[in-house]
């Protein structure tokens, strides 16, 4: 079997040697997982969410396990753009795998400023615009729940940068297609989804929510069926490429998302359980394609088979 087969993919000008990325917030700035494998083998690396100013994040507890999933309320702890460029970019820029910066703002202007600032970096591959973080006081999720404000944020970032823009959508909406179309028309070059589902947990002994901010974001295998459905829907609504995430743990999961319409997929929570998950998924996918005697392009969206949304 030829497992050196070509599974490269070009998403909005981001040239990736394979369609397996790692999801924002689950891979830090790439230092930790370097202990386990050569992270240049990844299709692309998405950084932890960056804000204009440094953020300390939320008080503990920040994580809580749920059936086949986890809730997190990290609250975008990050060093801010300036420190990121000073402390993290030097080592990130030496990687050969494309680096995508995930950005977040309290206001439309914030997004614009971060985008401008990051656009000065040579070699940064793209911006992933997070309009879906459930764990912060201002902005975040609210932007991603309304097509008009989603449009505004992406348009503002579009005006601020020539980098490819990936709009990262929230699943906590009635009509994901409407939001996806809004970001596409605002100039997004690709769409990534899903961010976490809004959830919560309660301590039945002290009668209080586990998290100080009450709500937190649900991720992991539990959310996969919902993520897959939304990728399917968005594929039928837009023509820009889709980057899928939400519970991807095995190559079989990745294959499902690609069949649903994703051009690339990102591994998030699964990194925590199996640090080598992305590598194993790359290998598994190659073997699968070999056995199917198909190339990646043929696979993308092929479960739609001409059929259209019946729902």
């Amino acid at each position: 079997m030829n497992i050196d087969m070509d599974i490269s993919v070009d998403i909005a000008g981001i040239v990736m040697k394979n369609p397996i990325m790692v999801a924002s917030g689950t891979f830090g700035f790439g230092r930790e997982y370097s202990d386990f494998y050569d992270i240049n083998k990844l299709g692309a690396l998405v950084t932890k969410g960056l804000t204009l100013l440094p953020k300390h994040g939320n008080p503990p507890p920040r994580t809580y396990e749920t059936p086949a999933g986890m809730l997190n309320s990290v609250g975008l702890e990050n060093p801010g753009v300036e420190k990121f460029i000073e402390k993290e970019w030097p080592h990130l820029s030496k990687l050969t795998t494309p680096i995508i910066a995930n950005i977040d703002g309290d206001t439309v202007e914030d997004y614009q400023k971060i985008a401008k600032w990051l656009s000065t970096l040579e070699n940064l591959a793209a911006l992933e615009v997070n309009i879906s973080c459930p764990n912060v006081e201002k902005g975040g999720l609210a932007f991603g729940q309304d097509p008009e404000s989603a449009f505004q944020v992406i348009k503002a970032v579009r005006e601020a940068t020539n980098l490819p823009i990936i709009a990262k959508l929230s699943p906590n909406v009635t009509h994901i297609q409407t939001i996806a179309k809004a970001t596409e028309s605002a100039g997004a070059d690709a769409i990534s989804l899903i961010n976490t589902l809004l959830g919560m947990a309660i301590d039945i002994h002290n009668h209080q929510p586990i998290f100080r901010r009450t709500f937190a974001g649900l991720s992991g295998p539990a959310v996969k069926p919902v993520a897959l459905r939304m990728v399917w829907e968005v594929y039928e609504a837009v023509s820009v490429p889709i980057i899928a995430m939400g519970g991807i743990t095995t190559w079989q999961d990745a294959a499902e998302f690609i069949l649903a319409g994703a051009s690339a997929v990102a591994v998030g929570t699964a990194n925590f359980i199996n640090p080598r998950a992305p590598i194993e998924i790359i290998e598994g996918l190659k073997t699968y394609l070999c056995l199917k005697e198909q190339n990646l392009q043929q696979l993308i969206g092929s479960a739609h088979g001409g059929r259209h949304l019946t729902y």
Binding site: P60, T63, A68, M70, N72, I273, P275
Partner: protein
């Protein structure tokens, strides 16, 4: 810090040493070689997605001859329940050694080590390591606290090292009746030369708070091993934060689990 390793370690032994407390011996020579006292393993308790996350468990014993490693854990929930059902001969998926362990004392220091409940586990390896360095017995005293006699473990092991070991139980069924921090108070009253002392502690949060207060009052350096819920265990998710006395938060898994008492806010 040494690079962590993922290993499918063979279980050599897994038996109950006190009610609901198990000792598991694992064969993972590369991890054993690198491990420092206070570091931990991140253990996958199930082959399925339930429970999803790994569980952090301290390295309690290291056998340099056999390359084996011992952990001691209390069955409190789903993960540890699954762990205690595993049979010798089967394998368990572990990552380790993780985190910053206890900094070993300089040769001229006197160590006071306090362990409470299941927090006694990492203390065993720490005491052994210090005892190996310092051939003078008096340079280490271990103070252990348990709820009751039945739940006590590790005492024989420590005594076999020739380390001075004093035990307290909440109900007085073994040793002193009270908390191990009471023993620490007494100890410090009895010793005047506290300037060369260093304190190590692992146990429940209220115990660590008390140790911090006592050590702070006497200006003795103290190293505390903390617990927090963890996802990744390696510093990537920012999920295991503890309030820093500086601005912001520290990561228990990477900056800790052992912190100098002054670094962290325990209130």
């Amino acid at each position: 810090m040494s690079t962590p390793i993922v290993s499918l370690a063979e279980i050599i032994q897994n038996s109950e040493i006190a009610p609901d407390i198990y000792r598991m011996e694992l064969q993972a020579p590369e991890i054993t070689q690198k491990a420092n006292p206070g570091q931990f393993l991140h253990i996958r308790c199930s082959d399925t997605v339930s429970p999803l996350l790994r569980r952090p468990i301290s390295i309690a014993q290291i056998n340099e001859k056999t390359g084996n490693m011992g952990i001691i854990y209390r069955v409190v929930g789903e993960g540890t329940q699954l762990l205690c059902q595993k049979s010798p001969g089967s394998r368990v998926d572990i990552i380790g050694p993780l985190g910053r362990g206890f900094p070993l004392p300089d040769k001229d220091k006197t160590s006071v080590i306090i362990g409470g409940g299941i927090g006694v586990a990492p203390i065993l390896y720490l005491a052994e390591k210090i005892a190996q360095q310092h051939k003078n017995d008096n340079s280490i005293t271990v103070l252990l606290g348990f709820v009751t006699k039945q739940e006590a473990f590790g005492i024989e092991f420590l005594e076999s090292l020739g380390v001075k070991t004093i035990v307290a139980t909440d109900d007085g069924t073994l040793g002193y009746k009270g908390f191990p921090t009471d023993l620490l108070d007494k100890y410090l009253k009895m010793h005047q030369d506290i300037s060369r002392h260093v304190i190590y502690a692992c146990g429940p949060k209220h115990m660590l708070s008390r140790v911090k207060t006592i050590a702070g009052g006497k200006n003795i350096p103290a190293y505390l091993s903390l617990e927090e819920r963890m996802a990744c265990g390696i510093g990537a998710c920012l999920g295991c934060s503890v309030k820093s006395t500086q601005e912001g938060y520290k990561k228990v898994c990477k900056d800790g689990p052992v912190f100098e008492a002054g670094e962290i806010d325990l209130d």
